[in-house]
């Protein structure tokens, strides 16, 4: 494929920049690229590598916990495993993979040729990628000159004062702090870019009220990132001051406050959940209508619900702190604010249901993953309501019930929709279809493994098993449940291997997709697959939310109804 800068192509200049082929030139091309599609793909590829690493960490933990009093790994190793698993999955899998899809799709869906700030885009990616490398470099350098290297073992929310010099000597916590801080810088940069792109680069005729819901959601998600990532960054800087400059923000032995860290962390940490789940909603908003063959039901309500979730999400953080002794008034307040999230979220579920209702559902792989998402997200939402009931949380908080609940959100909802997005947009990205047959194997193995693991994981929580224990007593009756949970993890692993095989095999042998394999309605399907580096030879003009519907049904265009 010829490589040329979009500027040159747009201006129609002769291609004098063609470089000789070879590995180095390919590397140079990817390292120096500012093309939003290439940066998006690098985000996704980098996230997939970390997904495999963090998934392997999860498997090791499941081996350790399969039976009581197991000695497969030492407590020190186990504590590093859950710290690295959580930190990696949130900051170096979830965020980059979703920013990757955003990067790839937002300009294409609004009929633009690139992001608003291509160089900032490249900077954001590389600084985030450096953060991930730094986190894992801690395995070699975490102890500094004190001895063998170690990774951080303070948990992904790193409660004070466990992170102070006294309890965490060496440099493992510093690597954690710096990698999270760098990831935050990258996130802010990309969020800024997405907002600027959506606000200023839309094609002719695309009013905000005609913007695809996925783009709307990326704007809202970026808005949350501005507000939520900053307190995390501030807290990390305060922690560095504590550890190296004699500060006492979180140093309880010198009068600092452990609870202060919790507030800082969760005012980031809970909105973070919505940063991750909103793009999954965005994928569902694009995929469910196309495979139900109907327009999304209640577009304005879907936009309002996304904005509503964003606002409410900023006022619920202390539901992670129902047991820290905030007092009955604060507990009641955060019980209410947390439950309020259920209203806009409920609107979304019902609107998806109404979109399906009366449609002609085509059960292609993207759609079956979306249907799995709908059921699993419903359950995740309901266990979320249970945890919002603060007295119930006094029992369930920090137990395996919580671990099961948030994996239902992160895997059952978010990861399922990420897979749906892969099957849906892979043809656009590569020009070839993913194998439907392998896709269905992937789906059913994952559904089976997911439910085996995470349905049964609720039970030891109800039976009193706390999270983050490297082993447990044999006489508590938790052993059988944990064994089932661990076996389920094996099925999930196999399903992911099938997916990776499908990604590689289909790249070479997949059916040729053509520009619009799904008979879809948004602008990315109006250009070739894969799109040229300049995206659109001629910038499109739209007059409704579904420009390709209008094109395919000139007698009955959407613009008549909006």
């Amino acid at each position: 494929m010829a490589t040329h800068t979009s500027a040159a192509a747009v201006a129609g200049l002769p291609q004098t920049m063609r470089r000789p082929g070879g590995v180095l030139s390919v590397v140079q091309e990817w390292v120096t690229t500012v093309d939003h599609k290439k940066i998006g793909l690098m985000y996704i590829g980098y996230a997939l590598i970390f997904l495999v690493i963090a998934g392997a960490e999860a498997l090791l933990m499941r081996v350790q916990l399969a039976v009581p009093n197991n000695h497969f790994v030492s407590p020190q190793v186990f504590n590093r495993l859950f710290t690295m698993h959580g930190t990696t999955m949130v900051f170096f899998v979830g965020m980059p993979i979703l920013f990757g899809f955003g990067n790839y799709l937002v300009p294409l869906m609004i009929g633009a040729r690139d992001m608003a700030f291509p160089r900032l885009n490249s900077f954001s990616f590389w600084i985030s990628a450096f953060g991930g490398v730094l986190l894992y470099f801690s395995y070699f350098a975490g102890s500094g000159l004190y001895g063998a290297g170690t990774a951080p073992d303070v948990g992904w929310f790193a409660y004070a004062p466990l992170t102070s010099k006294v309890f965490s000597p060496g440099h493992s916590t510093d690597y954690w702090t710096l990698s999270v801080l760098l990831s935050g810088v990258g996130s802010i940069g990309t969020a800024l870019n997405i907002v600027a792109t959506a606000l200023t680069m839309r094609c002719k005729g695309m009013k905000l009220s005609r913007m695809p819901l996925l783009v709307w959601i990326y704007v809202v998600m970026s808005g949350i990132a501005f507000v939520a990532v900053s307190p995390l960054t501030a807290a990390q800087i305060m922690l560095v001051i504590d550890r190296y400059l004699g500060g006492h923000f979180f140093d309880t032995q010198a009068g600092g406050s452990a609870v202060l860290w919790m507030h800082f962390f969760w005012i980031f940490g809970h909105p973070e959940v919505y940063i991750l789940v909103l793009p999954a909603f965005g994928f569902a908003n694009e995929i469910i209508p196309v495979f139900s063959r109907k327009a999304i039901f209640g577009y304005p309500a879907m936009v309002a619900a996304s904005v509503g979730i964003a606002f409410v999400s900023l006022g619920v953080w202390a539901h992670h702190m129902f047991t820290v002794g905030m007092g009955p008034d604060a507990n009641a307040f955060f019980t209410f604010s947390t439950m309020v999230v259920a209203v806009p979220t409920g609107i979304k579920i019902f609107n998806w249901l109404a979109t399906i209702w009366g449609g002609n559902i085509r059960f292609a792989t993207p759609m079956i993953f979306s249907i799995g998402f709908l059921f699993q997200f419903l359950i995740a939402g309901l266990t979320g309501v249970m945890l919002a009931v603060s007295p119930f949380d006094w029992q369930l908080g920090n137990s395996y019930f919580v671990v099961a609940h948030f994996h239902y959100v992160l895997v059952g909802a978010i990861l399922f929709m990420i897979f749906a997005a892969f099957y849906y947009w892979y043809p656009k990205i590569t020009g070839r279809m993913l194998s439907e047959k392998l896709g269905k194997w992937h789906f059913w193995l994952l559904v089976f493994g997911f439910h085996m693991t995470f349905d049964f994981m609720h039970v030891p929580g109800l039976l009193g098993m706390p999270r983050r224990v490297y082993t447990y007593e044999a006489d508590r009756g938790w052993g059988d449940w944990n064994m089932i949970v661990s076996i389920g993890a094996i099925f999930q692993t196999i399903s992911v291997l099938v997916f990776v095989y499908n990604l590689v095999r289909s790249y070479y042998k997949g059916e040729i997709a053509g520009p619009d394999p799904w008979d879809a309605w948004t602008l990315e399907w109006s250009t070739s697959s894969p799109p040229p580096s300049y995206n659109f030879a001629e910038l499109p003009t739209v007059s409704s939310r579904r420009p390709l519907w209008d094109l395919k049904h000139p007698d009955d265009p959407d613009s008549n109804y909006e």
């Binding site: 577009y299 820290v324 007092g327 249901l353 009931v389 009756g477």
Partner: protein, 354 residues
């Protein structure tokens, strides 16, 4: 007093469940769940104290509502997916396009709001009943201090200091007996969780929290630290003994005695007092006044050592003193490297401290 607590519970239950669910019927659920549990239950649905009981009542109510929502919404989804599947011939035409309906959307905004208002009111009642309950005049006070990786219990009015095994009097409806726990931490965050008695409360350095328990049946209740506190978080186990009034008085009398100075264990006592043991451990009536480790004045009377990690047998005690990492790698007590003679002597001495 008793009727006040019992009455308050009944009222709470009825309000939380809307009076529809009688406790007698709900009791069958823990009985079912008990099959899942081992000999000692840490099941949150098998409450044996007022706070756990009122949480349980609320939980059943919330679970019921959530189950109903799941059945309705899940049923509609299942119906829609089956009913509106694409059939042969559908490929040629598109179904009617519907863009929304304000009335329908308003209904699925208002109904959830009503549900959360109900859930919020039911929750708030239990929050206040539990966290704003007046402290009865006869309440027993215990100060709980979390340490990396063990529990310190102090009974200020009784002059008792002990570790890892909390003794409290049982509470019966005729003579309710509440134990008030005042909690903090000496190092990192911890959380006190005995599921059958109450929800968890965190122990946080520089902060004082309180909670109360009133076990309604005599016996042993298990739990463990529920906030990640470091390497051995998993082996920071909790044992709460709910004693009958007679047992409790006897236990208090034993604990108030100065540690036994058995002549037969004089040699072991000398080893103990002339080694680093005294830097961290206290034994009443001796020069050992360390405060970093568990008080050992009556260690021989405890059922377990190492914060519940192993049974308190002479063999285990000897092995633990020799190298604590055998049972608890990462425990803060260093390996003592005593010779066999001293190790045996000190083990024998500690075993006499009933």
């Amino acid at each position: 007093m008793g009727s006040m607590w019992a009455g308050r519970f009944t009222a709470t239950w009825n309000r939380a469940t809307g009076g529809r669910l009688k406790p007698s019927r709900a009791v069958k659920i823990p009985a079912l769940l008990a099959i899942w549990s081992g000999p000692y239950s840490t099941n949150i649905f098998a409450p044996k104290g007022t706070p756990a009981q009122s949480i349980f009542g609320l939980s059943v109510f919330v679970l019921g509502i959530c189950l109903a929502i799941f059945l309705i919404v899940g049923g509609l989804l299942t119906f829609a997916v089956i009913r509106y599947r694409s059939r042969p011939g559908d490929e040629d035409s598109e179904p009617p396009q519907i863009y929304g309906s304000n009335l329908v959307e308003l209904s699925w905004t208002v109904i959830p709001i009503l549900i959360i208002v109900v859930l919020f009111l039911a929750s708030t009642r239990i929050i206040f009943v539990t966290q704003k309950a007046a402290k009865p005049a006869n309440a027993l006070d215990v100060v709980v201090i979390g340490h990396q990786y063990w529990w310190e219990y102090r009974y200020p009015k009784l002059g008792i200091v002990t570790a890892n095994e909390l003794h409290v009097p049982v509470s019966d409806p005729e003579h309710p007996q509440v134990t008030y726990l005042t909690m903090s931490s000496a190092d990192t965050d911890h959380s006190f969780w005995v599921p059958e008695l109450a929800g968890k409360t965190d122990l946080i350095p520089n902060k004082v929290n309180t909670m109360w328990i009133d076990p309604t049946r005599a016996g042993l209740y298990l739990g463990q630290c529920a906030q990640y506190c470091g390497v051995q978080h998993a082996k920071m186990l909790i044992r709460v003994y709910a004693d009958t009034p007679e047992q409790f008085s006897a236990w208090v009398a034993d604990q108030q005695k100065v540690a036994l100075q058995a002549p037969s264990a004089a040699e072991g006592r000398e080893v103990f007092l002339h080694n680093a043991c005294v830097n961290c451990h206290s034994v009443s009536g001796t020069d050992a006044k360390g405060i970093f480790g568990p008080d050992l004045s009556h260690v021989g009377g405890r059922a377990t050592i190492a914060s519940g990690a192993v049974q308190n047998t002479p063999e285990n005690l000897r092995a633990f003193i020799n190298n604590p990492a055998d049972f608890k790698p990462g425990a803060l007590m260093p390996a003592m490297h005593l010779n066999d003679h001293d190790l045996n002597a000190v083990t024998q001495y500690l075993s006499t401290l009933k």
